[in-house]
Symmetry: C2
Subunit: 326 residues, 2 copies
C-alpha cells in the first residue's frame, strides 16, 4: 500500500481524500493543515488531521505527500521545503515560473534522496503531454488549446475586487467557429479575441453603479480588455443556484500535414469534459503519486514533470497485465 499524505485541505485536498478510496493500492495517512486541526471537518470521519508545523515528524509514515496549496504563494515555498523529506507531487500552474520552480524543487529533492513531480493536473499536465506527443508525431503543423466552458477562479477573483461587487463568477468560453476551423484543418491564425469569450455573472451592492462596474470589468487590462466580454447582473441566490459548481472543459488540437507534397492533413484532438475541475486534478495527482513512489523505489530521484514519466508508471497494473491497453 502506498501511504499518501495531504498537505493543505482545500478543494484539491478534499478531492484527494475522496480519490484515494478509488485506488486500491493506496491508503490515506493524514491531512496536514496550518489551521487548528481540531477545527478542520473532513469529508470522511476517520481521516486523521495533524498540524502542518509537525509534518517532518511523519516522514517515515508517508510514502508520497500531495501538495494541495495554491500556486501563487503556497507551492513555491512549500514544495521545495517538503521535497527534502518526502516524495512530493504538486499542481503548480503558473506556466511562466515552472522552470524556476523546477530548479528549486530539484535541489532539495536531491539533497533528501526524494522524487518530486511538479505541475501535474490537466493544464499544465495532460494537455502538456498531448501538445508534446502531437508535435513530435506531426512536426509540421500548429497546436491550439481552448479552455472552457468553465469557471476561471482568477478572473472571478479579479471581478470581486471591483468596488461595489459582492460576488462574481466568470466563465471562459471557446469561440465555436475557431474550434471548428481548427478541426477542419484550416490552420487559422487566431488572436486572443478570436479564441475565447468571457461571461461574467456579478452580484452588485444595492446602491452600486452597475454601468461603472460593467465598464471596469470590460476594460480591465490582461483579464478582460482583449476579449469580447459579457456582464450579467444576478442576485446572490441566482449565482449560488446556477453558478455554484466548478465544472470545466478544454480541448488541445494539433493540425499537421504529411506526404511527398504535404498534401495530406491530419487532426489530433484531446478533450476533457469535467463536472468537477478540482476532483479531476486530484485524480491526476494520485496517478502521478503512484509514479513518484515507483521511481523513488527504483532510485530515480530529483524533480520531474509529466513529460518525463513513462506512462506505465501511472498504472496499478504491471508487466503482462499492461498488454490489455495495447
Amino acid at each position: 500500500m502506498i501511504r499518501v499524505g495531504i498537505y493543505g485541505y482545500g478543494n484539491i485536498g478534499k478531492g484527494i481524500e475522496c480519490g484515494i478510496r478509488q485506488n486500491s493500492d493506496m491508503t490515506l495517512a493524514a491531512v496536514f493543515t496550518r489551521r487548528d486541526p481540531s477545527q478542520v471537518k473532513t469529508i470522511f470521519g476517520d481521516t486523521p488531521v495533524y498540524s502542518a508545523a509537525n509534518v517532518v515528524n511523519y516522514k517515515d509514515e508517508i510514502d508520497v505527500m500531495i501538495m494541495c496549496g495554491g500556486s501563487a504563494t503556497d507551492l513555491p515555498v512549500q514544495t521545495p521545503a517538503l521535497a527534502e523529506h518526502f516524495n512530493v507531487i504538486d499542481s503548480f500552474d503558473t506556466h511562466a515560473r515552472i522552470a524556476e520552480h523546477f530548479e528549486n524543487v530539484d535541489k532539495t529533492a536531491k539533497i533528501g534522496g526524494k522524487t518530486a513531480i511538479i505541475s501535474v493536473g490537466w493544464d499544465p499536465g495532460l494537455f502538456s503531454l498531448n501538445r508534446l506527443y502531437a508535435e513530435a508525431i506531426l512536426p509540421e503543423g500548429n497546436n491550439y488549446t481552448f479552455w472552457g466552458k468553465g469557471i476561471s477562479q482568477g478572473h472571478s477573483d479579479a471581478i470581486r475586487r471591483i468596488d461595489g461587487v459582492l460576488d462574481a463568477r466568470q466563465y471562459t468560453v471557446p469561440v465555436p467557429e475557431a474550434v471548428e476551423s481548427v478541426r477542419n484543418g484550416e490552420n487559422p491564425e487566431l488572436t486572443t479575441r478570436m479564441k475565447h469569450t468571457r461571461e461574467c455573472y456579478v452580484v452588485a451592492a444595492e446602491d452600486a453603479d452597475k454601468a461603472r462596474i460593467e465598464n471596469e470589468i470590460k476594460t480591465m487590462p490582461n483579464y478582460f480588455a482583449d476579449y469580447d466580454t459579457s456582464v450579467t447582473f444576478v442576485t446572490q441566490q441566482e449565482l449560488d443556484e446556477k453558478h455554484g459548481g466548478l465544472p470545466h472543459q478544454g480541448i488541445v488540437l494539433r493540425s499537421g500535414v504529411t506526404g511527398a507534397n504535404k498534401e495530406n492533413k491530419h487532426v489530433i484532438e484531446y478533450s476533457l469534459k469535467l463536472d468537477s475541475n478540482p476532483e479531476f486534478t486530484s485524480s491526476a495527482l494520485l496517478a502521478y503519486a503512484r509514479a513518484a513512489y515507483k521511481l523513488n523505489k527504483a532510485g530515480d530521484i530529483g524533480c520531474k514533470t509529466v513529460l518525463d514519466i513513462p506512462p506505465a508508471m501511472l498504472s496499478q497494473k504491471s508487466g503482462i497485465e499492461l498488454a490489455q491497453y495495447l
Copy 2:
C-alpha cells in the same frame, strides 16, 4: 543526425521516406527490399535502395531500422531477426499476439545490446497510451474505442476473396448514437452491433450473381455477421475515383466518476482524423525511432512498447526547451 533505415517498401515505407524530411535531426540511410533493388521506384530520386539479403552489412551505418512489413507474416519473423543487429521499431498490430512478439524481440535485442519498440502507430500505439492514461486517472469508469469512418484493409481483402468479386473497399463506421451516449457520460453497455456499422463498395464481375455476393458478405462470420452491413455495387472507375484514398478516423473515450458519493462525471476523449492512415502511422514510427535511439545511447536495451517510453524522449527538444509544452 539519426540515420534511419527502412526495411520493406510498401505504404508505410513510403510514408517514412517522406516523413524523415520533416524531422531535421534525421537522415534516410537506405531502403531495404526483398525485390530486385533496381526495379524499386522510390518517391525521391536520391533514396538508396539495397537488397534485404545484405542488410546486416549495413549495421554500422544505421542507427534505427524501421520495420515496414505486414503483421501477419513479415514482422513476427523480421523484427526479432533484425533486433539483434539494429535498434528497431515496428507497428505490429495483431493485438492478441503482442505479448508473444514482445518476448521474441526482447530476447534478440538483449543478445545484440539493441533497443526495440514494437506495436507503434495509433491502435496499437497512441490509442493504447490514452486508454492507459485515462484509466490510471479515472479508475472507476469505462473505456470505449471507436474506429472510423475509414478503410479496413482486412475487411476489404475478405470481400475480394468472394467468387465473382473483382475489387472492393470496406469502411468501418462508428454508430453516432453510441458515440453520443458515451460522450454524455451515460456509460452504455454496447454490443458489437451497437458500436460500428460496415459499408462495402463492391465491383462485381459482369455475370456474377449480386444477390449471392451480398448474402455471402453479410453472413461472413467474424468479419460481417455481427454487424449491420450495407453493400453497394459500383464500377471499378467509381471505386477508384470515390474510394481510392486511405483516410481513417478513430476515438478513444473514457467516462468515469469522482467525489464522495461518485456524483461527478468526467469524460476524456482522444480522437484522430487522418487523410492518410499509413502516413500518420509512419509519422508515429519516426517519433518513436528517435526515442529508441536515445534509449540505446543511455544503455536501456531490450524490447519496449509505447507504454514504457517517457514522452520527452519523442521530442527533438530537450531540457529547458520542453517547458514550452507545460
